[in-house]
């Protein structure tokens, strides 16, 4: 047999090819030779790979919550026997659309308890920020860890602090890509002062710094999906005179006009705030139920229920430009009803949150509560209920497992090191 002609590729072309390869294969290919090993670990290559990987937009964090009730009959048993924990597994959106009903057997590797953390804060550039929040007497203790599920690496714990105020902190996670600095932002309401407190930690520095508090107060700091990370900024939906409404209306934010809502955006580079108005196309004096912001197909989106008949989603086509708000979808509740068993009045009470968008942009994943979600294809108007049955073990051990859709976030595979 004739020998093969020898085609020797220069390193930049090898890098082009490898930038399209999955992380798991790349970790194997480190063994090819010394130059491949150093290429795959090279920060410039890691960035190129992340850039290519980010163009795919097909993965999300499939998060499941496990609650185990201790039916221990011994005299020492108490409510403390309730055990719970989360698992976070990167999963393909297209696969979910193909098959929205399945039993999800989990690899124990993805259990957060085993990583010493109780929950997930958010994800950025393939890194997942995990947090552990525990009670220590009358105060709370917080600790963090950074996890890259694709490379299967977890950082040592960092950012410990202890706090004794009644109001707990909410956390968000993002990166200032221009300086390559990952940041954790901690914020909370301080009700007796009608204000907020905001702290920032730069990864690698391990020091919490107080920054200016929110110029307008975010609506839902306590919910797990209260913020959107985009373009080196963290964004919250906020209301002017928030506390006034909270107190006057006993937590009911109905009756607030559109004009009082803004998007508060924290620039992670300068650590200063910007404010963006909502779409001008919303004419209603009173904002209907369920306004929320989300990240869909790379755009910051604002959605709400319109006159109890439709669910409307707006996209900010150019981030930061208020004139670029464009109506993306207007979905009649009638079209969504086949996915639910509720009676005629269900749509009045149904609060919808868009979670994810398919790569082709046609299928939206919406959640109606933390545990229920549907697929909606707006092009051919098809609705399907998602029914994932998480299963930790094959043995029934009194564990209740539920998918937590409020922690389903877009995820990209990357080689970014956890420190």
């Amino acid at each position: 047999m004739a020998p093969r002609s020898r085609v020797i590729l220069p390193e930049d072309l090898i890098a082009e090819i490898l930038s399209l390869i999955s992380v798991k294969s790349l970790l194997r290919f480190r063994c090819v030779n010394n130059s491949w090993n150093s290429l795959i670990l090279n920060p410039t290559f890691v960035k190129l790979h992340l850039k290519r990987s980010s163009q795919q937009n097909d993965l999300f964090t499939l998060t499941t919550h496990h609650i185990k009730y201790g039916f221990d009959e011994s005299p020492d048993s108490s409510d403390d026997d309730l055990e719970h924990g989360y698992s976070v597994v990167p999963y393909s959106i297209s696969r979910l659309i193909e098959n929205p009903s399945f039993t999800h057997f989990e690899d124990p590797y993805y259990h957060l308890n085993d990583k010493g953390c109780s929950t997930m804060v958010g994800t950025c550039n393939g890194l997942i920020l995990l947090a552990d929040d525990s009670d220590a007497g009358r105060s709370h203790e917080y600790l963090f860890s950074l996890w890259n599920p694709a490379t299967r690496t977890t950082s040592p714990k960092f950012g410990y602090f202890r706090d004794s105020r009644r109001e707990r902190f909410a956390f968000s996670f993002g990166c200032d890509n221009s300086s390559n600095t990952y940041k954790v932002v901690a914020s909370r309401y301080i009700r007796d002062q009608l204000s907020t407190e905001v702290r920032v930690l730069n990864l690698g520095e391990n020091v919490w710094r107080n920054i200016e508090s929110y110029p307008v107060v975010p609506v839902d700091l306590k919910s797990k999906d209260n913020y959107v990370y985009l373009n080196d900024t963290l964004n919250w939906l906020a209301i002017h005179n928030y506390f006034e409404y909270k107190i006057k209306n006993a937590n009911n934010v109905k009756g607030i006009s559109v004009k009082q809502f803004v998007i508060v955006s924290l620039d992670l580079g300068t650590e200063t705030y910007n404010q963006y108005l909502l779409p001008r196309g919303i004419n209603d004096k009173v904002l209907p139920a369920g306004p929320t912001i989300s990240l869909l197909g790379g755009f910051l989106c604002f959605s709400y229920s319109y006159k109890k008949t439709d669910f409307v989603v707006w996209q900010m086509k150019k981030f930061g430009i208020e004139e670029s708000w464009t109506q993306f979808l207007k979905i009649s509740y009638q079209n969504l009803s086949p996915a639910y068993d509720y009676d005629d009045t269900w749509n009045y009470r149904l609060k919808l949150f868009p979670c994810l968008l398919s790569e082709d942009g046609y299928t939206l994943i919406l959640r109606s509560s933390e545990v229920e979600a549907i697929l909606y294809n707006w092009r051919d108007n098809r609705v399907k209920r998602i029914n994932i049955i998480p299963s930790r073990t094959l043995i029934d051990d009194d564990t209740i497992d539920i998918v937590d859709w409020s922690l389903a976030k877009g995820y990209v595979e990357s080689l970014v090191p956890t420190f």
Binding site: R4, L9, I17, S22, L27, V32
Partner: protein, 156 residues
Amino acid sequence: MAAEKSSIKIITLIAADGSVFEVEPNIVKEMKTVQSYIDELDQNTVSIPLPNVFGNDLAMIIEYCKKHASEEETKEAKEEFDFEFVKRMKSDDKLRLLQAASYLNMESFLQFMAKAIAAEIENQSVEFVRDYFQIESDFTPEEEAELRKENEWAFK
């Protein structure tokens, strides 16, 4: 359409083995290396030697460019063409065409070839990849064993 800077009607490309290809300007639009050569030229024809590309490879690249420059072809027909185009190639053809794409500075054809090669090596073993690129390991057995152990799960 943007105004054509040059008045060239026919471009003659001469491959490394001397084979000659006559093409219209719209065919070479993606070849930035060629494009930079003909921009601003004020004549009807031009001959460009491409000493780093063999005739067989250049013929394939021109075939690809013709299909993709055509306005009559549907997106589906182009995708079908791409699929067949890759299917009939051996791995060495892909590697040579990737190099040619790099030399001719063809951004999207380079990505297309890189994707075709990536699809071949994705999920393959270290041994397969060494054979594919004709790379010899320069690790000591101890070093390699250590690396394999470090990422053991990736070998399952």
